[in-house]
Symmetry: C2
Amino acid sequence: AVAPTVASAADLPTINWRLASSFPKNLDTIYGAAETLANRVKELTDGKFNIRPYAAPEIVQFNAVMDAVKDGTVEMGHTASYYYYGKDATFAFDCAVPFGMNSRQQTAWMLQGNGMKLMREFFAEYNIVNFLGGNSGTQMGGWFRKEIKSVEDMKGLKFRVGGFAGKVLQKLGTIPVQLAGGEIYTSLEKGAIDAAEWIGPYDDEKLGFNKVAKFYHYPGWWEGGAQLSFYVSKKEWDKLPKLYQAAIETATFEAHVQMQAKYDAKNPSALARLLQDKTILKPFPQSVMEACFNAAQETFSEEASKNAKFKKVYDDWLVFRNNQGQWFNVAEQQFAKFNFGRKLK
Amino acid sequence: AVAPTVASAADLPTINWRLASSFPKNLDTIYGAAETLANRVKELTDGKFNIRPYAAPEIVQFNAVMDAVKDGTVEMGHTASYYYYGKDATFAFDCAVPFGMNSRQQTAWMLQGNGMKLMREFFAEYNIVNFLGGNSGTQMGGWFRKEIKSVEDMKGLKFRVGGFAGKVLQKLGTIPVQLAGGEIYTSLEKGAIDAAEWIGPYDDEKLGFNKVAKFYHYPGWWEGGAQLSFYVSKKEWDKLPKLYQAAIETATFEAHVQMQAKYDAKNPSALARLLQDKTILKPFPQSVMEACFNAAQETFSEEASKNAKFKKVYDDWLVFRNNQGQWFNVAEQQFAKFNFGRKLK
């Protein structure tokens, strides 16, 4: 569809939209992206295009944002596409895939590889136009009541973890459990679950997990860089004047940068505080990482063999992802290895 | 000054600006940021606000962009602030400082730390409002005719390298040389210089340095994440309608994201091609890195003791930079270390 053109800026219509966020306001870093976008779009349209964000679950449950946009309940959403992994594993490429890419690599694939093109094709079937909407960076592996020392320790572990990672971990005998954020603390405390992953230090600290499960394992190999996304109803998008389309599109970049910056600014001090309060920081053992990597590879192969949409995106994503490592291991990694451990004075 | 408000969008004026870029068009990744910005601003203002980018040295020499904006020769510029290190070392904090931050950390300091606030204060004295304008990521250490094996090898080395790094390297007896990009190849070939740093694989490949200096050392510890910047004449900025100010500001974020994404998408294949064509990739020896780190620390202390502006920014930047390492060494680094070296199939 072709967007209507306006003869002059004076013709710009007043438009009010609702944006359903998958996130509560206390996740200020993620939720804030919707506000960043809405404020900027308003400014860019002389106050005429108002997008009002609603925190979850005010008008839509956190994992129902995709359906709400698809069905036209709301014009816009802000969410993590891997919440819809259960509907189609292909959604995960718009967010994070186990042993996939980090934040910069994911953005590069989306914008300068074929990622955005492929995901737009995929989302079109859901009446959705997708945009970048932030990234958390590499997340933590989560909070464990007992230290994970071997692959054996993963067997029978009741672990609150999301869709794609859960599928991979089942191959190691782990029992993935689905729980809303608000239920995790009590379940961990009572021992109803043995472990739970959430996001990273800044968000995890608010929920107090360190009080009830002191082993903080890393990395969250299932989300090396979890991208958030804005969804716009395609039907509503096509009705917008070009200037309003441009306002939304450019504002998504601003929200994208600001979210990652906020996480990067806030996580370090949160981690330092957690370490002063019972938290024992431990990498996953190499053997566990290897076993998970192999299990992920099996899961990808199985999914690709039965889901042509998944395979189409995976084939492109795979080449891009495999091509990144050599270069990122050079300047970027060598600088990081030398520099992060050294303080200037 | 307060920006004029417009009664309605119909009042929006037609404005034509010139933007002087410090970069030639063949550096499409960096130069492209000015085009990204100009195109978006035009769209956002219904074609009324036209910013025309000029590649260097069409109207302004690459290292004269700051003066051109300050003096009102052009309304806008796109440049690397460390080009003006010779005028005041404080400029470097807006771009890259030896053993400073990587791309994400620099952005985080600017947007969610005190970086933008402090640099705006500093730039105000130059009649400039500064904005983010991209990042290259960690650059390479450069091309060397002979392999660097020890600190001793740095002594007497004629090295084409920029201001701040040159100052640091002088403490090791290195002789920094200033040369424009177009002069490097011939100087290296003739042995007039022993080494030269430029940017990274994608840009370096175009200049063919691998034909005349096969040792490609890394990392470029003097630019762990070199930020580019847009400059706007403060006088011109204050005259803009608020909507035009918003259009510029938001478009700078888009240009910022797109440049890093383009580098990240294009560097890997360029590195692979260079490695198939004579290039020998070598990290700087640990002893050299340590010596450079110590020399950088000395340089910072000397500069801070004689330049109050530098000290003011350094004191804030230092706390932020030192606070980043612990967290970045956890999830992000552990994921990188495991993941970058492993291919999925």
